[in-house]
Amino acid sequence: MVKRWERRAVKPATAARFTRGDRVRVAARPVLGHCRTPWYLRGKTGVVAAVHGPFRDPELLAYHKPGLPARVLYKVRFKQGDLWGRYLGPASDQLEADIYEHWLEPAK
């Protein structure tokens, strides 16, 4: 039987845990199956640049599930120098990535 995924808008299960300006660390965990957190960001610390709001969880949508509970998606800003062992560009260079809340933890 075809399990149809749903694309209706979702309400957040809970309020957003982080707000703009918060320092966050990307979880350094391996994962099986589909996930949208790139390897090179795992374990890295950045700052929340924007709160995009709740979206269905792609890790569940990948298995034809409704993708609930919805996860809050954030735009997180990293310093390029923090990401690469030997970064030769200017210290002001940054990288922004969209990361789901369940991949983020508070950082000092």
Partner: protein, 129 residues
């Protein structure tokens, strides 16, 4: 499109790094040349759009990505962009019980025979499930 020269950087032993997740690894320069899409590539694109629209919702882009990301490293590096797409569509149609493997194999054999009859080249390669 000329295939970019990819120096195969092993992703093995990286403790859970998936085959597609290559950001930051060394693969040499990126081939930025554009090319016209072949008819089958356009059809593949169209099929994906139709299968994930509101009427059908047979697959999501995340399910499609999941299948593509599950190819082994050698296969992932070897096969072209839309080839990854059409293989994943095929497997998801079976996973979602829209078609059976037998139905797809039978149809492929039919098309292959038709091409052989008309002298059109048909690749001999059998695409693994």
């Amino acid at each position: 499109m000329s295939e970019p020269e990819r120096k195969n950087t092993p992703r093995k032993g990286a403790g859970g790094r998936a085959v597609h997740d290559i950001g930051g690894l060394t693969f040499g320069p990126i081939d930025r040349s554009e090319h016209d899409l072949a008819l089958w590539e356009k059809r593949t694109d169209a099929m994906l759009i139709l299968l994930r629209d509101n009427k059908r919702s047979i697959l999501s882009v995340d399910a499609h990505r999941r299948v593509i990301e599950s190819y082994g490293e050698q296969e992932y590096d070897r096969i072209a962009y839309y080839e990854k797409w059409i293989r994943a569509i095929r497997n998801l149609l079976v996973e979602q019980q829209v078609l059976t493997r037998d139905e797809i194999e039978a149809r492929v054999a039919e098309v292959r025979a038709k091409h052989e009859k008309t002298g059109r080249k048909a690749p001999k390669e059998r695409v693994p499930w």
